[in-house]
Symmetry: C2
Subunit: 291 residues, 2 copies
């Protein structure tokens, strides 16, 4: 078993949670459309491994190693329950390979020709759109189980930079092969459509945030979203670590880093959160949601 998987298990056990695989399966039901879907637009996918060290891959995988999906902690997220009973789902390797990335390394760059989708398997990343004059916008943060690269399908060229926020492991999914499989496996096709649609909805929610919310509301919404996703993954929703800097949060929310810092302070003074650097404790979830 990969060490990163062990890390997950250990972290979960240490906090009194059931096995992460069971948790993930529950999440899957929720996240992939079994239960009654929420009407209200959901804020963007922003989750990081809290309490989990950056993965120490003990048996290092070489770049280009064949992916072993049967042991992947993010498998229940990538592959819905309906798929697992199919031929495809029973394979150890679904598609593609894995690749190690170091903190700060580009998974792909704007302008690179589009070949693959990527899934963060361990670690987190950001996607950055760069304006002609150099101004940057972080369009999203991704963590284990979340997809990258869908921006490249439309034009055949990626339109944003995808940068690892920490050392990690990503799955490389050749899109051509994926599309071929989609032609054969209806459930896979539908899953891809849902993933792309979710990305559209995620960005719509961010547009709402940027167009209408105040600085305090944005930061509160950011934390609330984070908290919910930690809860969904079986981690504490009230205590976690941020994986990104204040500047990156600001660049994502359309604020300056000083403003982000001030809003954290303000929320803390209001007794809603308790922050020390990147460590966050949410004191009043309700209150934070009402901001």
């Amino acid at each position: 078993m990969l060490n990163s998987v062990s890390n997950h298990s250990e972290a979960s056990r240490a906090r009194g949670f059931a096995s992460p695989l069971i948790q993930f399966a529950a999440l899957e039901e929720k996240a992939l459309g079994r239960s009654v879907p929420s009407v209200q637009p959901v804020l963007p996918t922003l989750v990081w491994h809290s309490q989990v060290q950056a993965p120490q891959v003990s048996k290092p995988l070489h770049t280009g190693a064949k992916a072993d999906c049967s042991n992947c902690p993010t498998r229940p997220l990538c592959m819905p329950i309906q798929l697992r009973s199919t031929d495809l789902g029973k394979r150890d390797t679904l598609l593609g390979s894995t690749r190690k990335v170091e903190r700060g390394e580009a998974i792909y760059r704007a302008g690179d020709s589009f070949r693959n989708l990527y899934v963060a398997r361990a670690g987190s990343s950001k996607t950055v759109a760069v304006h002609r004059d150099g101004r940057e916008q972080i369009t999203g943060f991704q963590i284990a189980g979340e997809f990258l690269g869908m921006d490249g399908i439309g034009t055949g060229v990626y339109t944003v930079d995808a940068i690892a926020l920490e050392d990690g492991l990503i799955c490389v999914i050749p899109f051509k092969e994926l599309e071929e499989q989609c032609g054969e496996v209806k459930e896979l096709q539908h899953l891809l459509h849902r993933l792309m649609s979710r990305e559209i909805v995620r960005e719509s929610s961010l547009l709402m945030l940027m167009g209408n919310l105040t600085a305090e509301e944005r930061v509160a919404a950011f934390l609330t979203n984070l908290s919910q996703r930690f809860r969904d993954r079986g981690y504490s929703s009230s205590e976690f670590n941020l994986r990104m800097t204040r500047e990156e949060i600001g660049c994502h929310l359309g604020l300056k880093l000083e403003t982000v810092s001030r809003m954290f302070t303000k929320l803390q003074r209001r007794g809603l959160i308790d922050m020390h650097g990147k460590q966050v404790r949410i004191v009043d979830v309700e209150g934070l949601g009402r901001v």
Copy 2:
């Protein structure tokens, strides 16, 4: 032939352009990924029919009428050249039916269960995300040939309201059938993926706009984008009519209506544009692009 089609042709001829069908074919090559794709994120799809009256449908189509795609002016946009030679492409009716909509009418509403994608066939629309406290964000404007409803795929429920900006005609494409066809017709599958990806990229560009650009830059970018799309459709890129109010523009760009008005005035004083109400003339395209 539908009157709305005649309107297109007349408008084009009056301005010395070749038949819109030829123009659209050229656009298709450009828009759907034949030529070298631009690396720089493209601003959102914001085009309206200038110089074209709101469609007067002389032989009224009943709601639910079977769509006759062979005569549709937006066909070359919906269906790429590769598809037309296939069995599917040769059919008069691709999928679905048409529906008349009146100005202000909802094409679908947030919370409605997802069944169809829609394509504006004549007229334009807006998609509006509504926050719990009532604050609104227009996530996009759509015109003939542009798709609506992809936000609903992910959860099975639409997440935004889609409202007609003027009387018009829309194609209704049952998504279930579309997915089935996608399984059989590879090119159709790929087209759908590209359309969804483009929506993702469009929204990323809007995030950049909202996160980084000043009010003046936003309004200039809005007009520039509009202008380019009119040019792409064979209409004048320097003179056109806006189909939405200042308030709607502001709601889309994250500004108040007064600010939008002031920025129009400012751009006019700088000699870049010449506006009278909803009528726009772009005097200095270069300059406007450099704002």
